[in-house]
């Protein structure tokens, strides 16, 4: 099949965007499948990236269960729960933004992406206040670390893991926010069509993945035996 034979009106859209169907794909389905698989392959590497930290957490929590529990109780369960709700809500708005791409409603998609941005930024601001509190209370591992408890040395392990895990997660949020802002601009400009909204879909997959990590971080860090 000659490239011209499968060209759609979208390929010559006045926006000057790249062709909706890249020349090395035979069909939109094949193009979408490749994009989805590629994104998931990346996300699998991310699962193992975070997996190392989860493994370290599991190991040290099993070795020092009591101090992990005591240290966990210094975290604000209200702020943690609030942020969980905010992040899951941002996943909903992201899913609806991708749906806007599927149905060719670029403006609606952009609106939901802006909502996602606002919710994601809210999460980071709350996280910032939580970090600030940790610095004030000297719960940041290092020379000035201070913890009221029988096993302060190993309490540092909990807080090291807390900062590493939530910090790496927050770094992913920052990357996600930049991506969502870019995609929102493109969506508003009509770049995504029902045939090809693969970049939007991939950004959605990334955003949901970051939500997934938090779904596990929240009970492991904030909810250790609160009774």
């Amino acid at each position: 099949m000659a490239p011209d034979a499968r060209a759609t009106p979208l390929d010559s859209a006045a926006h000057g965007h790249a062709a909706a169907l890249a020349h090395h794909f035979d069909s939109y389905e094949q193009q979408k499948e490749s994009a989805t698989l590629g994104m998931w392959t990346f996300l699998v590497t991310e699962i193992l990236f975070f997996g190392g930290l989860f493994a370290a957490y599991g190991l040290y929590r099993s070795l020092y269960p009591e101090v992990f529990r005591a240290a966990s109780h210094t975290l604000s369960i209200q702020l943690g729960t609030f942020n969980t709700v905010v992040l899951i809500a941002s996943s909903l708005t992201m899913a609806l933004a991708v749906r806007g791409g599927q149905t060719g409603k670029g403006k609606l998609s952009a609106l939901f992406l802006v909502l996602t941005l606002i919710l994601g930024s809210t999460f980071l601001v709350v996280k910032g206040f939580e970090y600030h509190e940790k610095f004030v209370e000297h719960h940041v591992p290092g020379a000035t670390f201070h913890f009221e408890g029988p096993d302060a040395v190993h309490a540092q392990l909990f807080f090291s893991l807390y900062f590493l895990m939530t910090g790496l997660h927050a770094l992913h949020m920052v990357v996600g926010i930049v991506l969502v802002a870019y995609v929102a601009k493109r969506a508003a400009g009509g770049a995504y069509t029902p045939e090809n909204h693969n970049f939007l879909e991939g950004t959605g997959l990334y955003w949901h993945f970051v939500d997934l990590v938090w779904i596990f971080l929240f009970p492991l860090l904030y909810l250790i035996g609160r009774h």
């Binding site: 992201m94 929240f218 009774h227």
Partner: protein
């Protein structure tokens, strides 16, 4: 129009289920379940993750290769956890000469 566009009410339903699970996991942490509490918390998190993966991430309705890729990743994660546990779990079983 692509073949698979999920209705908005499905997304709302998944969101409400995720909210319910969040409330449940916070509630469960205040109940004394003994050693089971960690597994309850992880079980609820796994249920939430499954909902996000299947519906928000469109794995339900995708081609079969996508879940195969995901499960292969989870399998290697399992190996990571298993070998770490096998290492630390069996340390001290045998004496080390010279120590």
């Amino acid at each position: 129009m692509p073949a698979h566009v999920r209705p908005v009410k499905d997304y709302i339903a998944v969101f409400l289920a995720l909210m319910a699970f969040t409330a449940l996991t916070v509630y469960a942490s205040f109940v004394d379940l003994g050693p089971a509490s960690t597994f309850v918390a992880l079980g609820i998190a796994a249920a939430k993750a499954t909902l996000v993966i299947l519906y928000f991430m469109h794995v339900k309705g995708s081609t079969r290769l996508v879940p195969v890729v995901i499960l292969s990743g989870l399998f290697f994660l399992f190996i990571l956890f298993l070998f770490l546990a096998a290492d630390y779990g069996t340390r001290g079983w045998l004496g080390v000469p010279g120590r």
